[in-house]
């Protein structure tokens, strides 16, 4: 509560942002008004996303028919495209300073964000032996693990080519960092730490590596490519990084929360998937502070029959879900606070900053 009060105070000092912030913090009715007001902005970003989707299919095209099909398989209409959405909005909010235009290189970063993410999903599905992804059979089920993994490598290869063509070494380093973090995160999932204090820190690190790093580094890259004059570019890029990081953490915490609350159909993939993989996420880690018997289950990675059911039961009895939501809220609030440090748009509308705030808030409310 304290954080929120502190944050709203800060927003009041810059009136334009705080207006939509207030909209978002009070109930559903005003939520609708906010959406209406944002509609023109949403449409602009929607067009960007369409171009990105087209670009991805174009770049991945190749003569090897099967690879052509497989590489494009998970880039259908079902994806939420949340990564490119955030990156484009972020980039446009900076560009409002100068030319109000999304630069091709920035759009490329948004494209790369989605491509790298999808490549990692394809590999994750093989490592985790998952069968479903985005409402259809995982690529590995359809084509076998070898071809699926190679398609992931292929997407990564094409991504490096696109990345290199931007011609900026700093941006290359940022995106290389993303890939290293994704792999490190995948490795961290293989083991469970012994003590509960370590477990939570480990969980946060893992969440950063697997989700937040991509948001953070791509946002920073989009800022660096903004070609902004008269401002401290490096500081701005760092803010963009911090926003991405906090947004990413909030996003993943909600994802982990949905994993224990939603049904398979909502998610397009099996629910309680994390527990089935032996992974302990925020809800169960919080619950274990109330019900120490969960520690045993966490340490044996829910491997015995009945473990998952028991864990779900105890999570339901505990305040694990509420605390997870609260933690996600804190990250989201921090992300919004950082946005208030961003430069205002020259025409005073701040429409893209407002949309970023809206996206951050609605991440907390999403159901899938």
């Amino acid at each position: 509560m304290f954080t929120i009060r502190r944050l709203s105070k800060q927003f009041l000092t810059c009136s334009v942002i705080s207006r939509s912030y207030r909209y978002l913090s009070v109930g559903a009715a005003s939520h609708k008004t906010a959406t209406e007001e944002l509609q023109p902005t949403i449409n602009i970003i929607k067009e960007d996303l369409q171009l990105i989707h087209r670009d991805i299919l174009q770049h991945l095209g190749c003569y090897e028919q099967e690879l052509n099909e497989l590489a494009k398989y998970h880039f259908d209409a079902k994806g939420k495209l949340i990564r490119p959405m955030i990156i484009c909005t972020m980039a446009r909010s900076f560009n409002q300073q100068q030319d109000n235009f999304l630069h091709e290189n920035q759009r490329c970063i948004a494209t790369l964000g989605e491509m790298i993410h999808t490549a990692s999903l394809i590999h994750d599905d093989v490592v985790d032996s998952s069968d479903r992804r985005r409402g259809k059979p995982a690529a590995a089920v359809q084509w076998g693990p070898k071809k699926a993994v190679l398609a992931g490598d292929y997407i990564l290869g094409i991504s490096s080519v696109l990345l290199a063509r931007i011609g900026n070494s700093d941006v290359v380093s940022l995106l290389a960092r993303v890939i290293q973090d994704l792999v490190r995160g995948e490795f961290m999932q293989l083991s469970t730490k012994e003590s509960d204090a370590e477990q939570f820190q480990d969980y946060l690190n893992k969440t950063f590596c697997k989700t937040a790093s991509l948001f953070a580094n791509t946002c920073k890259a989009a800022a660096l490519l903004g070609n902004l004059r008269d401002i401290n570019l490096n500081q701005l890029a760092d803010y963009a990084y911090e926003f991405g990081k906090n947004f990413g953490m909030a996003f993943q915490l909600i994802d982990d929360l949905l994993d224990v609350t939603s049904t398979d159909d909502d998610l397009g993939k099996p629910a309680t998937a994390d527990l089935k993989l032996g992974l302990s996420t925020a809800p169960v880690l919080f619950a274990s502070q109330q019900f120490p018997e969960l520690q045993t289950l966490i340490l044996r990675r829910f491997s015995e029959s009945g473990d998952i059911e028991r864990a779900v039961e105890l999570i339901d009895q505990s305040d694990g879900k509420a605390r997870t939501y609260h933690l996600a809220q804190q990250y989201a609030n921090e992300a919004c606070r950082i946005l208030s440090e961003f430069p205002q748009s020259s025409n005073g509308s701040n429409r893209f900053l407002n949309y970023l705030i809206y996206l951050t808030q609605s991440t907390l409310e999403r159901r899938h």
Partner: protein
């Protein structure tokens, strides 16, 4: 069966060699090559030691241990990687570095402290990276057993196989992420682009033939060999010249030189594989480098109707093999021609590359073993 270091060297180099093939004698050439590029002999593993001391690798080793006693083919790969003598280790990088040294370093870019034995420090790191990418291919090759998912009999082994696949994916991803980091450190986006293309090509190789198992033309052999082996090493050469700012045309020249050398070597070895009677011995075909008959170079040159089933003996046909030798000669002559211009003719690396190619040509003409 133990293979001699030479055989292991060549096979891991994409130089698929018939194990009983005694000519040409590569050993002196290769040790000479290592002297020329000045590799520290203390470097014993292809995975440089600095990559071994971290959490990711120890996790992988832990997983590999669990696989001991199972039939997972990944174990064989791991044994090969850890057990291989230092000579095997730097085989692909050797070619990249020899060509780099033969190309020299432009005067304007000469940083005394970064250059040893005529090779820039970054070029060495790049060569190591090419070696790593090769192991990525190997890790990926060992995936795929899970295709048998539905088969009930496999139930018992299922978890072993899943574990094995896990390691194969993670191990490969680890190598890939290391390569990304290394490439970024060079601060030359061009180099990233070149290697990105090479990785995409490597992946295309698996899909090239679609469902059909056999090659139908020489062109297809060239395309498949380029995608699966030659482009990676040749891109390594191009990237290496990019690192020291050679001109684009010279980069292309090095790229094509490397491709012609690799094509010649593979052609030579595949000719020898089918021209001697020993090719019936199954043990001699167990090297992972050997390709199946219907993807081999002589097979691609055969006149055959599509329905015909080709027997191994049909490849051991003098007329066909002479045709193959001619093609290999054309290929190696292209390499010699490319070597004549722009490369430093006084460099020991240039003369060594030339003698490697000449050894192949001598082997073709002598027909002693071939």
């Amino acid at each position: 069966m133990r293979f001699s270091p030479i055989v292991r060297f060549l096979s891991s180099n994409g130089f698929y060699v018939h194990i009983k093939n005694k000519t040409p004698n590569w050993q002196p050439l290769l040790s000479q090559g290592e002297k020329i590029i000045g590799y520290p002999s203390s470097l014993h593993s292809l995975v440089n030691l600095k990559y071994l001391f971290n959490e990711e690798v120890s996790t992988l080793v832990g997983y590999l241990r669990k696989l001991v006693g199972t039939q997972h083919p990944l174990l064989k790969l791991a044994t090969n990687m850890l057990d291989s003598p230092p000579k095997t280790a730097h085989s692909r990088s050797l070619l990249v570095l020899l060509i780099s040294k033969a190309a020299g370093i432009p005067q304007k870019n000469y940083q005394e402290d970064m250059i040893k034995h005529g090779i820039h420090e970054h070029q060495r790191q790049l060569a190591e990276l090419i070696e790593m990418s090769n192991n990525l291919t190997l890790a990926r090759i060992h995936l795929g057993i899970l295709g048998h998912r539905g088969i009930v009999d496999l139930k018992e082994n299922q978890s072993d196989l899943e574990q094995g696949n896990k390691v194969a994916v993670l191990g490969g991803d680890y190598l890939l992420s290391q390569a990304c980091g290394k490439l970024a450190e060079f601060r030359k986006p061009q180099v990233v682009e070149t290697i990105g293309h090479a990785i995409a090509d490597m992946c295309k190789a698996e899909f090239f033939l679609k469902d059909k198992q056999s090659l139908s033309s020489l062109t297809e052999w060239y395309q498949l060999t380029a995608l699966s082996v030659a482009n990676l090493v040749a891109s390594g050469c191009r990237a290496s010249l990019q690192l020291v700012d050679h001109s684009t045309s010279f980069q292309d020249q090095a790229y094509h030189l490397c491709r012609h050398i690799i094509f010649s070597c593979i052609m030579y070895n595949e000719i020898s594989q089918y021209s001697s009677s020993i090719s019936h011995d199954p043990a001699s075909l167990t090297l992972y480098g050997t390709v199946s008959m219907n993807r081999s170079f002589p097979y691609s040159l055969m006149n055959k109707s599509t329905t015909e089933n080709v027997a191994l003996e049909q490849l051991n046909n003098e007329e066909l093999l002479d045709h193959c030798r001619d093609q290999c000669l054309v290929e190696s002559n292209k390499a010699l021609d490319l070597l004549k211009e722009n490369f430093d003719q006084k460099s020991s690396a240039t003369s060594l590359i030339r003698s490697i190619i000449q050894q192949i040509q001598d082997g073709l003409f002598s027909k002693k073993v071939i």
